[in-house]
Amino acid sequence: MMLGQGPDIGEMVLHHTADAWTIDLEPITTIHLPRWADTHLGPLTMNLSPTKHVVYLIVAAVLVFLTMYLAGRSLRRQRAGENAPKGFAAAMEGMVLFVRNDIAIANIGENGAKFAPLIMALFFFVLYSNLLGLLPWGASPTGNLAVTGALAILVFLTVEIAGMFKLGPKGYMATIFPHVPGMHGPGAVAFSVFMAPIEILGKLVKPFALAVRLFGNMTAGHFVILSLFGIIFLFGDIKGWNWAIGGMTAALVVGVMMLELIVAFLQAYVFALLSAVFIGLMQHEH
């Protein structure tokens, strides 16, 4: 196997997609992030020191906030002058309204406007996190299971807690112990109890799929791009072919990058859409 002798492409791929305690801005510099001691929360032990993904999460959040804040300010100014919104602000308004109307309200229903701020924040946060990975030196925090898992847990809690408020204790319990139409007596009770684990599993599978889908899509894209770059390091020293290999690989990477750009938008859309659908399903459960 070539891996043993040449540069370790596998190590390189994993190194660049995995979280780290450093931020590589090579060849300029490498920033070493501070390491804190472990935090004990009851039986849980975790390390809260910031990692590369934490930094990029914050960068994504700051960028989302700046974008939206500036767009809002610009829109307000344009409207104060009684002008139709134009340029960047109008584009942002269009995107925000799309997320609000066609993702949140269209899938949640009459309560959609109430959940719209959450869906909008999720969409743009995920989108910016996805896009950060496509920048030079960038990394996608959404290519980390902890991040996508945390967001999915948030969605899960929103779905269940909003469901409890909307359906009331009795209605909410019916989503765990389903009442089968046409069944009465002890048979129906037995069936409900029998179905409960399946219903609970169903509730948990949705956020799990949400987390794994986003993580998988982001990580896979980075794997593909980095692996394609690896071709250069593996075969670039073949005499007479190095330019051809370099050019072909670069073309392939550009193509995959384009694809990744679509995937970044698509996965943000899917994440927001499915969150809205899950909230809407729970809101309209009978």
Partner: protein, 180 residues
């Protein structure tokens, strides 16, 4: 092959470096960062971006409600009008019926009156005819008395014709009449 890569990377870095590793601290960080972003956006960004849309939606909602109200009002008015129309129609019909019955009564009364007058006229005519008849009969009787007296005086001399004789004949005629 992947596992080999993973093993190689772990070996190289000395610590597990894998995108599949779940760092509990990162979960807390994600919640914190997303929570702060959510609150900031909700307070400072969304209202500015959505204000016009929300106002428009509010206006549309209000207009819809108003249109619905106006529709309900129009429906109520229409119903009321139809009720009024029905009432006035019924009233007109009752007036017509009353007029008809009044005219019927009137006509009947007129017919009755005419008949009565006719009857009266007829009765008077009859009475007059009867009276004329009676008068003629009396006349005839007087003529007869005078003729009989004249005839009798021719037979028994000039003496007859005095009032006493006239009375005798009249009495006789009366007795004849009472026999009839």
């Amino acid at each position: 092959m992947y596992l080999a890569l993973l093993a190689a990377s772990e070996g190289a870095a000395g610590a597990p470096v894998s995108p599949f590793e779940v760092n509990g601290g990162l979960i807390i960080w994600t919640w914190f960062v997303f929570g702060v972003l959510f609150l900031l956006l909700k307070k400072y960004a969304w209202p500015a971006i959505l204000s016009v849309t929300e106002q428009r939606e509010e206006t549309i909602r209000r207009h819809l409600a108003e249109a619905e109200q106006a529709h309900d009002k129009a429906q109520a008015l229409l119903a009321e009008q139809q009720k009024l129309l029905g009432e006035s129609r019924a009233q007109a019909q009752s007036i017509l019926a009353e007029a008809k019955s009044a005219s019927d009564r009137e006509r009947a009364a007129a017919v009755q009156k005419t008949r009565e007058e006719q009857d009266q006229l007829l009765a008077r005519a009859r009475r007059e005819i009867a009276a004329e008849g009676e008068k003629a009969r009396q006349e005839l009787r007087r003529e007869a008395v005078d003729l009989s007296l004249a005839a009798a005086s021719k037979l028994i001399g000039e003496r007859l014709g005095a009032d006493a004789d006239k009375k005798i004949v009249m009495d006789h005629l009366a007795s004849l009449e009472s026999l009839n």
